[in-house]
C-alpha cells in the first residue's frame, strides 16, 4: 500500500514538475521576446541614428581598415548591440544617440578614450525637473540607495544594471496584459539572477539557482508567472510608482498571508495602478480577478454570509432537536 501511495504521489509530482518546467521556460523570457518586429514610431533622428545602427544594430559589422587597405567583416561585442526595433519601442525612442553619447562617436574608428566616458544616470535628466516631479525620481533614488543592490557595490551598481536605457519601457503603469508585464519585469531580475556570468560581476557566490531557492514556495511556477520578483523582494513605498528598495534575502516576504489575505500587499504593489476599484461583484480585492486568482485574498463576501447563515441554521436545528429529545427522555423516565 505504501509503495502504491508513493507511486501515486510521485506521479502527481511528476505532472507538477512537468508543468513547472514548461512554465519555467516562459519565466526565462528575455526582454526581446516582448518586443514586436514592427515598430510604427518614426524618429526625427532616424538618419543620424542609422549611422550608429549600421554597425551597432546587428551582430555583424563591416568596415574598411584604411591601415591595411582592406574590407573587414567582424562580430559586434554583444554588449554593444542595440536592436533598432527595441530602441524605437523604448521610453527613450525619441532621442538621438548623440543626445547621451559623445558627438565624437560619429568618427570611425572611435577614439579609445571615448569608452571611458561617464555614463548618465536617471537623475541626470529626470532629477529636479517639474515635468517628471510626479514620478518622484529623487525618492526612487533615495530608496535605491537603501537597497541591498546599491550596498553591494555603491559605485558599480547604477540604474542601468536593471534598466537598459536603450530598451527599457514602462510597463506596469500602462499595462493592458499583466501577464506580459510580469514576465517583462521578472526578466529584468533574471537577466543577472539566471545568468551566472552577469551575476559574477557583482557577487562571488558559487552558484545561483532560483528554482531551488524557491522550492519552499507551493505552486512555484504559478507564483513566478503571476507575480513579480519585486512583490516579495522590495519594501513597499506608496509614494513612488514602483518600489526600488530591494531587501536583503533574509527580509524577503515569506509569510503566505502577506498576499493571501483580505489586506493583500499585492494591492499596494502589482495592482497599485488598478486598485481604486476595491471590490467587484462581492469579491474582496476583485481587481486581481482580471488577471489571476489568489486564495485567501479573493474570498467572496456573499458566499461568506450565506455559508455562515447555513452553518448557524444547522446548529440551531440540531440544538432544538436535542432539546426535544431530552424532553422526551425526561418524560419517559418520569412515566416509568
Amino acid at each position: 500500500m505504501k509503495l502504491f501511495m508513493f507511486r501515486i504521489i510521485s506521479f502527481l509530482s511528476l505532472i507538477n514538475l512537468f508543468s513547472l518546467t514548461s512554465a519555467g521556460s516562459s519565466l526565462f523570457k528575455t526582454e526581446n521576446d516582448n518586443v514586436h518586429d514592427t515598430v510604427s514610431f518614426v524618429s526625427r533622428f532616424e538618419a543620424d541614428n542609422n549611422r550608429c545602427f549600421k554597425c551597432h544594430g546587428q551582430e555583424k559589422y563591416e568596415y574598411t581598415n584604411e591601415t591595411l587597405g582592406k574590407q573587414v567583416k567582424d562580430m559586434m561585442c554583444s554588449e554593444r548591440i542595440i536592436h533598432k526595433n527595441e530602441f524605437y519601442s523604448s521610453n527613450h525612442k525619441s532621442f538621438s544617440c548623440t543626445d547621451c553619447h559623445s558627438e565624437e562617436y560619429v568618427k570611425f574608428p572611435h577614439s579609445g578614450t571615448l569608452r571611458m566616458e561617464q555614463k548618465y544616470i536617471c537623475l541626470d535628466c529626470h532629477g529636479g525637473d517639474a515635468k517628471f516631479a510626479k514620478y518622484h525620481f529623487e525618492e526612487i533614488d533615495s530608496e535605491y540607495r537603501k537597497s541591498t543592490h546599491f550596498k553591494m557595490e555603491d559605485e558599480g551598481f547604477t540604474c542601468w544594471k536593471c534598466h537598459n536605457p536603450h530598451t527599457y519601457k514602462i510597463t506596469v503603469r500602462n499595462s493592458t496584459n499583466l501577464k506580459e508585464t510580469i514576465a517583462y519585469d521578472n526578466a529584468i531580475c533574471l537577466n543577472c539572477h539566471s545568468d551566472y556570468n552577469r551575476f559574477q560581476l557583482l557577487s562571488d557566490k558559487a552558484e545561483i539557482n532560483i528554482i531551488q531557492k524557491h522550492e519552499w514556495l507551493p505552486n512555484q511556477a504559478s507564483h513566478f508567472a503571476n507575480v513579480r520578483c519585486i512583490e516579495c523582494h522590495t519594501k513597499i513605498n506608496n509614494n513612488i510608482p514602483v518600489s526600488h528598495q530591494i531587501r536583503p534575502k533574509a527580509e524577503a516576504v515569506r509569510l503566505c498571508n502577506e498576499c493571501h489575505s483580505k489586506n493583500s500587499i499585492l494591492m499596494a504593489s502589482l495592482y497599485k495602478f488598478e486598485s481604486k476599484e476595491q471590490r467587484r461583484d462581492g469579491f474582496f480585492n476583485g481587481i486581481i480577478l482580471n488577471a489571476s486568482y489568489v486564495i485567501g485574498a479573493n474570498r467572496n463576501e456573499y458566499l461568506n454570509y450565506i455559508s455562515l447563515i447555513i452553518f448557524f441554521v444547522v446548529i440551531i436545528v440540531i440544538i432544538v432537536h436535542v432539546v426535544f429529545r431530552v424532553k422526551k427522555k425526561t418524560k419517559n423516565i418520569k412515566e416509568e
Partner: protein
Amino acid sequence: MYLYPKWIRAWHVLNAAMFLILIVTGLSMQYTDKGNASYVVGFAKAVRWHNFAAVILILSYILFVTGNLLTNNGRYYRIERKGFLSNLKKQFKYYSIGMFRGEKHPFPVTEERKFNPLQKITYVLAMYVAVPLLIISGIGLLLPEITITTVFGISGLILTDILHITMGFCLSIFMIIHIYTCTLGSKPTSLFRGIITGYHVSEDE
C-alpha cells in the same frame, strides 16, 4: 447484526480523518489574514497538509468505489424510484415529529437495508456527486497549470475554487449532520460503536 466489514471500517476512519484535516486546513487557507498568521494552522503548513490529505482522500475514494463495485456493499446505495418521495417524507416526518411521539422507526436497519431513504439519498449525493466534484476541482487547484484559463470571460481558477469551496462547505455541513444523526441510534453511542466493531445494534435488540 454484522453490517460493517473491515474494509468499510478502514475506509470510513481514513475518510473521516482526512476530511477533518481538509476542513481545518481549508478554513485556514480561505480565512487567512495578516496579523493572524497562525489562524488554526499557518498558511504554508495548511497548504502542505491540505495537499497531503487530499492525495490520501483520493486514494481512499478509489478504495470506496472499488469496494462498492467488487462487493455487495454497492447495493445499499441504489435508489429506487418507486415511492422515492413518499419514503423520504416518511423518514423526515419520523425525525421531526414521529420519534418524539414514540413512533417506531419507519425503515429499521436490516441486512438488506443498511440506510434509511433519507440517509441513502444524502450518502449518494455526498459520495457520488459532491466528493467527485470536490476531487476534480481540488486537482485543478493543486495543478493550476492544467486548469482552463477562462470560461466565458471568467477565470477558470475562480470557478474551480468556488466549486471547490462550495462542495467542501456542503460536505462539512454533511459531516456535522452525519455525526449528529449518528447519535440517534438505540443509545446515543451505539451507532458510533457499530462503525468501530462492525456490529449494528438495532432498537429492538
